[in-house]
Symmetry: C2
Subunit: 254 residues, 2 copies
């Protein structure tokens, strides 16, 4: 019993990712850190779990107030196995990232970074996902530090309501500040690049571009990111459309 | 141009699943059917997309008003590639399932069946996922037929608001009727079964049991299923906690 805070960290870019190391450095200021991260990049894994094969867990590093494990599973598997096999009590905070690329708008659904965070939220622990909108292989994650610190500090101070976590995206460059906003509305289009293999069979790579469908709304994550602000979206586990319940009750289903 | 409705179907139990065949039979009553389903079971895939390897698409069957393809990707990849490569206009309806097992409560987040449906909803097409709470390998999906028909008919008649789809779960046996409800609150616990391989290394299988955390609420999918009713939950793409926005704006982040 040290009385120090315990912070669980995962990501979807894998145990060797530069963004993970940057997040660990920030988290160490707030408590003891346990990392459980995929052994290789698992981007786009959403909340996938590994049901058709067993997973492995290997100790990666250990030093004062820090321990890390690599896991052959998905980001959600990483969080689940930390709770079941590595933590003797719930952590005080769960962080994920810093993701290499955006997880704003509808990308929250496909994101392994946010998958880990929604899983943390299901476990009733305050959980925050961080992503940086910089796709350069050697992206500079240090610009996230100041904003992540503020958001972590306020989350520890104020708490989050049960069933709500945070999706934080940081624009490239020097952010102007932090903006609270809703998930933007949009979708990915023209998503597959068709190629032909040496045996004359087709195969497809996922690609495409994001189509913003908010037409100028100023209260979305996409908008504030374009304006140079860090976006903070409160994300819910309960994805029921409660307003629709009464409407459905008027359908002829009985 | 036939004027007939076009219905896209996917699932996460794979192209050979009995539940898929049952859903195709129901859908054929409503229009021309295009199936794009994973070439093997992809349960627990959530909204995962395949970014680190290319995917394949192979024609599986073709008959009057029916065409099916197997795809090496996830359920979400199946829907995405159907829109990009197989459909010349948006379908009138997207269905997924019938899943072999429950996708109620928090399982909606891990479900590949519902992943395909949320993807359909992102494409602005009325989308409905069906799951049967029967884990027997030879489960009888015919009991779903009557209820699926009613729900499809009412969905086509009334439409669904943009950004909302339906998560339908059917109890085993003879359902008493249909109930409109919210997503139950709960989580999976004790999730990993530890084994030791012949080389004395540990590995883990995901397992565990569902813990209901609603304490007797009668308006949840879990409750109505226990009571023998088909549950219909309207599910939103926008997972922002809108009530939390104003609270976050009062934090000391500036």
């Amino acid at each position: 019993m040290t009385g120090r805070r315990k912070i669980l960290i995962s990501n979807d870019d894998g145990i060797h990712a530069k963004g993970l190391a940057a997040l660990v450095e920030i988290a160490k200021e707030f408590g003891d850190v346990l990392v459980v991260a995929p052994h290789m990049p698992r981007s786009g894994m959403s909340m996938a779990i590994t049901v058709d094969s067993p997973i492995r867990l290997n100790k990666f590093e250990k030093s004062a107030h820090f321990e890390s494990y690599s896991c052959t599973g998905t980001p959600v598997d990483c969080v689940k196995i930390a709770f079941d096999k590595l933590l003797d009590k719930d952590p005080d905070l769960i962080l994920s990232g810093i993701n290499h690329g955006s997880n704003s708008s509808v990308s929250v659904h496909y994101s392994g970074t946010m998958g880990a965070i929604i899983e943390g939220c299901i476990h009733d622990v305050p959980s925050i996902g961080f992503s940086l909108l910089d796709y350069h292989p050697d992206a500079d994650f240090s610009q996230v530090k100041e904003f992540a610190r503020k958001i972590i500090l306020e989350t520890l101070k104020n708490g989050l309501p049960r069933g709500t976590c945070l999706n934080v995206n940081v624009p490239k460059g020097n952010p102007k500040g932090i903006a609270i906003c809703r998930q933007g509305n949009g979708r990915w289009v023209e998503e597959f690049d068709q190629r032909t293999d040496p045996h004359n069979e087709n195969y497809y790579w996922v690609t495409g571009y994001y189509q913003n469908m908010d037409n100028g709304s100023k209260d979305t994550d996409n908008h504030v990111l374009t304006e140079g602000f860090v976006s903070v979206v409160p994300v819910k586990i309960d994805i029921t459309n409660h307003e629709q319940l009464e409407i459905l009750k008027s359908w002829n289903l009985w």
